[in-house]
């Protein structure tokens, strides 16, 4: 089922007369395709959980419409929307066993939807099998590890056969190893069931790694929507460029003048079809090529050897960042002279953004 948001806005009123309140979700217009895994990504407090709550119906929007398929669900009660929601803390009922937790939503069904005990058991077992917890059915939630609790929560959300599955920060309560495992697990379950799934996260790596599409948000406003690689390679503004990717993209203050891109007095690239203006130059760590004759000079700080590749740590007068990073192959030699390291820049991974608007400025390499 596809999900369409139309001018969706949620404002929280201020507590006092002077407090203007917060617009947590500002004029969302999205069409989420059927059967895809969508990552809703943004820093803490950007309104992504609010967006999720609007979809689930736990919050009512200030204005705008939500469509599930062709059905307008804006004013529909949460339970009528056919949504499975997995909470950040899982919200498993602690006094019920795993199987009782999974059965709980089915026992609520009334009227025509009402199931016999056998049917319920069958559905619950199917859900349990899908998330591979068949052997834990009689345990209480507190006897499970974080990852297992997560699976139970997903099973409980799936057992109703929802049209849409929502996951709120699904991996934030897990340790690093489980996180890797679980995100593959979520991806697998999504593919097996084919349910349109939206998950919220502040971790860009998480979102990039499993999403079919990511939606990047900031301060209640959608910044960019697209396939992860597409958004990474072609960020629309400085925020998106800086938010995606580890290590972070390196930002310098620079200027376009007479067909050349300058950082300070150093012309780092020849550019075409772009007006003269002050810009931010954002360079992906992999776009630096160490070159003793290179145009860009930076103050060398350290080399961090990571086996497969090496990261060069340096600073620049033209960047506010305390440490800039270049990732280079382990076999490439770096020879700083008098504490200065010089680079050439690869143009496809070097983006420029207007200094005032922070919007992307497209250029061609000359």
């Amino acid at each position: 089922m596809k999900v369409v948001l139309e001018n969706l806005t949620k404002k929280f009123p201020g507590r006092t007369r002077k407090d203007p309140g917060v617009t947590a979700v500002n004029n969302f217009n999205i069409e989420i395709p059927d059967g895809k895994l969508i990552g809703l990504l943004g820093p803490s407090g950007c309104g992504k959980s609010t967006a999720l709550n609007l979809l689930s119906g736990l919050l009512a929007p200030t204005s705008g419409k939500i469509y599930f398929g062709d059905e307008d669900v804006t004013d529909l009660q949460p339970e009528k929307r056919g949504i499975g929601l997995v909470f950040q803390n899982y919200a498993l009922y602690p006094h019920l066993t795993v199987i009782e937790n999974i059965l709980f939503p089915l026992e609520n069904l009334k009227g025509e939807e009402k199931l016999s005990r056998d049917q319920m058991m069958k559905r619950a077992m199917e859900a349990a099998k899908l998330v591979q917890i068949e052997m834990l059915l009689n345990r209480k939630p507190k006897e499970l590890s974080g990852g297992q609790q997560q699976r139970v929560a997903i099973a409980r959300a799936l057992v109703k056969m929802p049209r849409l599955l929502l996951l709120d920060e699904p991996l934030s309560n897990l340790d690093a190893r489980l996180r890797l495992q679980t995100r593959e697990e979520i991806s697998r379950i999504q593919k097996e069931t084919g349910i349109t799934t939206i998950f919220v996260t502040h971790d860009q790596e998480e979102a990039m790694s499993i999403s079919d599409q990511i939606i990047v948000m900031k301060d209640g406003v959608i910044q960019q929507i697209g396939a992860p690689q597409e958004v990474y390679d072609d960020p629309k503004n400085l925020f998106v460029a800086e938010f995606l990717g580890t290590p972070q993209i390196n930002t310098f203050e620079g200027e376009v003048k007479d067909g050349k891109l300058y950082i300070g007095n150093e012309a780092v690239l020849n550019v075409r079809n772009v007006n003269d203006q002050k810009v931010y130059v954002a360079v992906r760590p992999e776009a630096f090529i160490p070159d003793p004759e290179g145009p860009l000079s930076c103050a060398f700080k350290a080399l961090e050897v990571m086996g497969r590749d090496t990261s060069v740590v340096f600073t620049s007068k033209f960047s506010e960042r305390k440490a800039l990073r270049a990732i280079i192959g382990a076999d490439v030699k770096v020879e700083p002279k008098d504490g200065v390291v010089r680079f050439r820049l690869r143009s496809p991974k070097t983006e420029i953004f207007n200094r005032e608007t922070s919007e992307r400025v497209y250029y061609e390499e000359a």
């Binding site: 339970e79 499975g84 609520n108």
Partner: protein
């Protein structure tokens, strides 16, 4: 190393242990021994031997049996009622947002109000005086009923007043505990239940109640124990001669055989106290057994 640390620990415990030993443990043991000393003479501090005589006497004493009956009626009526009403009020309190703290304060007032003041209020409500019938009787009359003498009248009327009084006095603490317990239930459980279309009744039965069950259990246990120990409430309402008023309680009986006129029988008092202890113990054990199935920690 270990031993030295052990010693230090005991040293820190010493003041409390001394205090408890002198004022709690020793008297307890003493009461137990007293209860078996037959034909104990208070003046000469002598007795004829050990046996069940005191228990036999107490259990055959009609005043004691009346006290037991009163106490049981009081317990059976007030514990479930006060807990239930407190739960309803707490649910109400936690579902309103406006003027909630005002109501919370109002409901908590009895807890901090002087017993004498409370007694006075009940007098105004229930007691007949030459100038007034009492507020409740005024109301009864207004609805066309006949006046009832609540303080010196029929047994059921006196028991009614006693129960209302007890419930009213124990309620604030229960409301306090239960509103706290309700507030501590994570909001996400309710959201999850809402997403699943759980009805309000089922949410209450299947989520709220199990989540606050340890607190309810605590209130029931302490409620039982408190009600079995009832005495001062009866005195506040019906004066010190509770036997004459037919409103004596077990603790009242213990006091009577010890101190009132015709008293001075520590052996009988001890036996009665031990019987009370056995009753409370039995009820508590039953409570614990029941709770194993229904209380979720």
């Amino acid at each position: 190393m270990m031993e030295k640390r052990d010693l230090k620990g005991w040293l820190y415990l010493l003041p409390a242990m001394l205090f408890l030993g002198v004022f709690m443990v020793y008297p307890l043991i003493d009461v137990f021994i007293y209860s078996f000393e037959e034909e104990f003479n208070f003046a000469s501090q002598s007795f004829t031997g050990y046996g069940w005589d005191n228990y036999r006497f107490v259990l055959r004493d009609p005043f004691f049996m009346r006290a037991v009956r009163n106490t049981f009626i009081l317990v059976i009526i007030t514990v479930p009622l006060s807990t239930g009403i407190a739960l309803l009020i707490s649910l109400g309190l936690s579902s309103i947002k406006v003027v909630r703290s005002l109501f919370q304060t109002l409901y908590f007032l009895p807890y901090v109000t002087n017993t004498l003041a409370v007694g006075l209020v009940f007098m105004i409500l229930f007691k007949r005086t030459p100038v007034s019938e009492g507020l409740v009787n005024v109301l009864i009359n207004w609805f066309g009923g006949e006046s009832v003498d609540f303080i010196t009248g029929p047994y059921w009327a006196k028991m009614l007043v006693m129960c209302i009084y007890t419930i009213w006095v124990v309620m604030p603490f229960k409301i306090l505990i239960l509103t706290g317990a309700l507030a501590s239930v994570n909001e996400d459980y309710y959201k999850a239940a809402k997403m699943d279309g759980t009805s309000r009744g089922r949410t209450f039965r299947k989520i709220t109640l199990p989540m606050i069950s340890p607190m309810i259990f605590y209130l029931v246990i302490t409620g039982f124990i408190g009600a079995f120990k009832a005495y001062s409430d009866a005195v506040a309402l019906f004066g010190t001669n509770l036997n004459a008023a037919e409103m004596n309680t077990i603790v009242g009986y213990v006091y009577d055989v010890l101190y009132t006129e015709g008293g001075g029988y520590p052996s009988y008092a001890s036996a009665a106290a031990i019987i009370l202890f056995v009753i409370v113990l039995t009820i508590t054990v039953i409570n614990l057994l029941v709770s194993r199935k229904h209380v979720h920690y």
